[in-house]
Symmetry: C2
Subunit: 352 residues, 2 copies
DNA sequence: GTGAAAGCGCTAACAG
DNA sequence: CTGTTAGCGCTTTCAC
């Protein structure tokens, strides 16, 4: 295995000192144009590129940030939710614009140390969707690096966070249904933790809309046993739900993929969507317009979410003043109408 | 900003030399149990973790591999195909098992140098889905690092590749349709390049099945103008296709998300799937069972594909003998029946 | 068992 | 303008 080409080789071949080569590489110091050209020529000839490892040894920066996604790896492989890919797309795009690279890691249920952050001199971390209950969150909160938390609902106002206005989203979903005349509206979601987190906030929004419409959200209509965020979980959740409830006319769920599973169950059991039951999803993923029926969903710009997170992180790394003022970015959702919701059926109205 | 805690600090506090600390960290050399314990205690107290940058300076390895995905970034942000996320999940999982980290980068249409591979001492690269025509492929092929190409169909037998048996997949799709009695079968795909690549091979498989059934694949039935791999592209492609052809009874397309768009177009234009037209997709993504109708599709284990790629890469990095023998891993697809295909309708049969 | 010392490739003073 | 030199944190002989 041949030796790495180092700055020294370049220096020798160009008949200059390594300091000069260094200056040329970094455009620093005063170097005559002639020398610059010569050195650059040699660099090209030798196919030299500077070792970041060596650089990092002096400078603290590694020009690399980490993205921590829950459950991607090992024990808890990521649930195939396109949402993450959109988010990562946004992050990568933002990083690339600023010449940063992105390291992707997952955090499992096991104890994690995140020692890699120090080991690799990571300049920052974007943490996706960890609640305060997440085991690893403690560790994460104690790290001494710039961090941005996405969808995490952390109380500490000093933390940098990117969120969706989930309450508004939940509100839109429920409001839409009440406006269509629905009264018996079920909610299908994962466990909502201890009154925090994305799902809980969406739930609060729903509740508000229902209250406004003079509807009380029956406990029995809140189904929080969807184990994962997946089509399958949605499918199984409605099945269970319908065992104990038979008069609902609408369902809200907090992800499009669960909505998909829900619709699948309903239509394959001869319950018409939206005629018998309306369904509202959440996220507005690419496929939501292409399902049959197309989804009414609360859209969020996930790619942008990723970009915002990256921007917030980089501002922080740069120590920009802006960063101090702008610690929390809250994006707005948007209701997208599809064919999965409709006014409550007249026959049902009559029975009320 | 406080100084990084280095091996020196540990050495001082533990009253040993840095060499000993190093030995403890790496479990090398002879160190008395007593010293080991003392040093480890100090390490914990100080919260010390060794700098990989410094390590990399000596050792060549960075314990990091790069994943290169086409068009994720900047100019050509990734098309929202869950396929990639599955693949990356597999890769990350494989990496994590072997204590490697994964850097995610995109390659745009622009000229790319991949200098980061040397700069960051990457131990290897997994390249996803680049044809030989891809501009950056030349660069990629000339790099001097272990690489694994996924879905790339490169001629050089020395290259490490992970592929799906795409011909078999295409064959399954078409065979299934001919067995159902279909004769006028259309193909909707992206441009198929110069007779290579994933799509072309799937096409070959189709062709074979059709030939076996005594059907010639009409030129006019091959629609290669789907611009991207997306539901929208599928939607628009059928629309165009149906302008010039009106007697097809089945459509094959090489991704589930295009299939989704196709079905959407058909059903929303009152063409029944599968009664009027059968549709076969490809990939077997999570949602394929949950569409309405559910998709008949050629399933591939995408997560496994990622894992295999990682394994092949790591074998190569380790210089395992196995790697020399096993340069090409070809996974097998599997036909998954859904409700989007059905025997050709009797009414049509009568007209033939 | 343990330590001293020489680098790995680069940057950043500081001289010249 | 350009070169010398001292580290950055760690691994690795080679002595003791």
């Amino acid at each position: 295995m041949k030796h790495r080409i180092s700055i020294t080789h370049v220096a020798e071949k160009a008949n200059v000192s390594i300091a000069t080569v260094s200056n040329v590489i970094n455009g620093k110091g005063r170097v005559s144009k002639k020398t610059v050209d010569r050195v650059n020529k040699v660099i090209k000839e030798l196919g030299f590129s500077p070792s970041m490892a060596a650089r990092n040894l002096k400078a603290i920066s590694s020009q690399m940030i980490g993205v921590v996604v829950p459950g991607l790896g090992h024990k808890g492989r990521l649930h195939a939710n396109p949402f993450y890919w959109d988010l990562v797309s946004g992050i990568e795009e933002g990083a690339r614009d600023r010449e940063f690279h992105v390291m992707l890691t997952s955090v499992s249920e096991e104890e994690e140390t995140f020692s890699f952050v120090k080991e690799r001199h990571l300049d920052g971390l974007i943490v996706v969707g960890g609640d305060e209950e997440m085991k690893a969150m403690d560790q994460l909160l104690n790290l001494d690096v710039p961090r941005v938390f996405v969808d995490s609902y952390l109380a500490d106002p000093n933390l940098y966070q990117v969120l969706l206005d989930d309450q508004a989203g939940g509100y839109m979903a429920a409001r839409h249904l009440t406006e269509l005349g629905h009264k018996r509206i079920a909610l299908i979601t994962e466990t909502m933790g201890d009154h925090e987190g994305v799902n809980y906030n969406r739930y609060l929004g729903c509740q508000k809309a229902l209250e406004e419409a003079g509807i009380s959200l029956d406990e029995e209509l809140i189904f929080t046993k969807a184990v994962t965020t997946s089509a399958k979980a949605g499918y199984e959740a409605v099945r269970e739900l319908l065992k104990s409830v038979d008069d609902i006319t609408a369902i809200i769920t907090f992800s499009d993929i669960k909505a998909m599973g829900i619709i699948k169950y309903l239509t394959s059991h001869n319950i018409k969507v939206p005629n018998d039951i309306s369904v509202v999803g959440f996220d507005g993923l690419f496929f939501s317009e292409y399902t049959t029926p197309s989804l009414t969903t609360v859209y969020q710009d996930t790619v942008r979410k990723g970009q915002e997170a990256m921007e917030l992180l980089l501002d922080q790394i740069d120590g920009k003043k802006a960063a101090t003022e702008r610690r929390k970015v809250v994006l707005s959702p948007e209701l997208r109408l599809g064919d999965s919701t409709a006014p409550i059926a007249p026959t049902i109205l009559r029975n009320l």
